[in-house]
Amino acid sequence: MVEVTRREFLKVTGMTLAGSSVAMLGFAPETAIAEVRQFKLARATETRNTCPYCSVACGILMYGLGDGAKNAKSSIFHIEGDPDHPVNRGTLCPKGASLIDFIHSEGRLLYPEYRAPRSDKWQRISWEEAYDKIARLLKKDRDANFVAKTADGLTVNRWLTTGVLAASASSNEAGYITHKVVRSLGILAFDNQARV
């Protein structure tokens, strides 16, 4: 129970101040205690992340406001380079430095959209529909263009008519899984990072 009492001891309250160094030396902590009633606590966050733009993968700190309550939407108001990150040590390129506009951009894609052939309109679709559509198109293209053997009979099992550009701010594990999926289909045109 030592831990509990020690933690209790470290709570600073009007009551504990009454027996503190301040009071015992003849100073009055009452003003400080009374003053608090007019104050309000504000909550902000710093969140560590990786810049999504390119393969350098700079560390960033995102500054947000909000009380963290379940229903309250926290808003990011500033982004800067993470000084502790070994890659960029607090610095960012002009693209990274303007990430805040990327987040709050009105044109930011928030859900899957589909534009049918010869249509000039984008329509919102569900993630399920998007996955189905992508899988169907991939299969159609692979069935039509997959090369199992070259003209002189050499086995190659390659699929050259589709390429994949994956995410840049993903972990080693996500990169490994992406690689396994893409290569097992026979795709050769594959990059896991955008290049600046």
Partner: protein, 306 residues
């Protein structure tokens, strides 16, 4: 072809690394603290306590340059360094008699000081009249892990003398031989908890967070956005008082419900961790209401034990 670094290249890369530990400068620590406290005391809701703290820091400043530079057994320091332990452990170091001389001089300067409540003079005279054994016993209780039988009136002055002693000793160490503690909340020099964090604002340290030792004023680097008490990074938030200085915040942890204040020098370059922690007690009171616990006390503000 493997890239092999030539002799000297590794050292050149090292110069870009974040300095892990910054030892205190005895000629600056107390002078800066005294000046900061004097400034903060002009608008002090703590009823003049910051004025008292300013006088205490001034007294420290006067004695830190005293002719008796303290020394401890170099063999003990060497052994501690060899085992990657704090070389000047607050709990365990055999203190030299110099610290009691420092204490008596600080107490004497406070008993002469004008404009403070009688209780200050009574306390200063009580310390001045105390024998060596009694002073050692008070110090031992203050530096021990348990919060029992502490004397909140005498504590700030006794700690002030111990600070002068430890800062003078710490300044003489070789920073390159110190080991970073695995626990963030332990000073690499004396093993005591930090009083607060400071985020530096001037090159080459800008943006780095350092923890500031409440006893020996050593500063050591810790990655930001990480609870300095439990090491967690989920649920770490910055709390401040609405409409007040953005330089003064508390880094709270939803995981262990503790906090330490964190001072941003980019918003106020004059911040002193101990002084500004003392001057922002309103933030402590609000956080206690929000059910957060202080991870470690301010060495100049002792509360009654359990």
């Amino acid at each position: 072809m493997p890239r092999i670094l030539e002799k000297g290249q590794i050292e050149a890369l090292e110069s870009r690394a974040i300095p892990p530990i910054i030892l205190p400068d005895p000629t600056r620590v107390f002078a800066a603290r005294a000046a900061r406290l004097a400034g903060l005391a002009t608008d002090d809701p703590l009823g003049g306590y910051l004025g008292f703290a300013a006088a205490l820091a001034r007294a420290q400043e006067e004695v830190v340059g005293s002719p008796h530079r303290p020394a401890v057994d170099p063999a003990a320091i060497a052994t501690a360094l060899e085992h990657r332990m704090p070389p000047l452990p607050a709990r365990g170091l055999t203190r030299g008699r110099e610290w009691r001389e420092i204490l008596r001089r600080v107490a004497a300067s406070l008993s002469d000081a004008q404009g403070f409540p009688d209780a200050v003079h009574v306390m200063a005279q009580r310390i001045g009249a105390a024998g060596d054994a009694e002073l050692e016993a008070i110090a031992e209780r203050l530096l021990s892990a348990e919060g029992r039988d502490r004397d909140p009136a005498a504590a700030p002055v006794v700690i002030a003398a111990l600070q002068v002693y430890w800062v003078a000793l710490a300044a003489g160490l070789d920073v390159g031989r110190l080991a970073m503690p695995e626990e963030a909340a332990v000073c690499p020099v004396c093993g005591m908890p930090p009083v607060a964090s400071v985020v530096k604002a001037t090159a080459p340290l800008d943006g780095y967070r350092y923890l500031h030792c409440g006893l020996c004023a050593t500063e050591w680097h810790r990655v930001r956005v990480q609870c300095t008490q439990c090491g967690g990074s989920r649920g770490v938030a910055l709390h401040s008082i609405e409409g007040r200085s953005p330089a003064i915040r508390a880094e709270t942890c939803d995981g262990c419900r503790s906090y330490r204040k964190i001072f941003y020098l980019e918003h106020d370059a004059e911040v002193d961790p101990l002084a500004d922690d003392l001057a922002s007690i309103a933030l402590d009171l609000l956080l206690a209401e929000a059910d957060f616990h202080r991870a470690s006390p301010n060495p100049w503000l002792w509360q009654p034990g359990p």
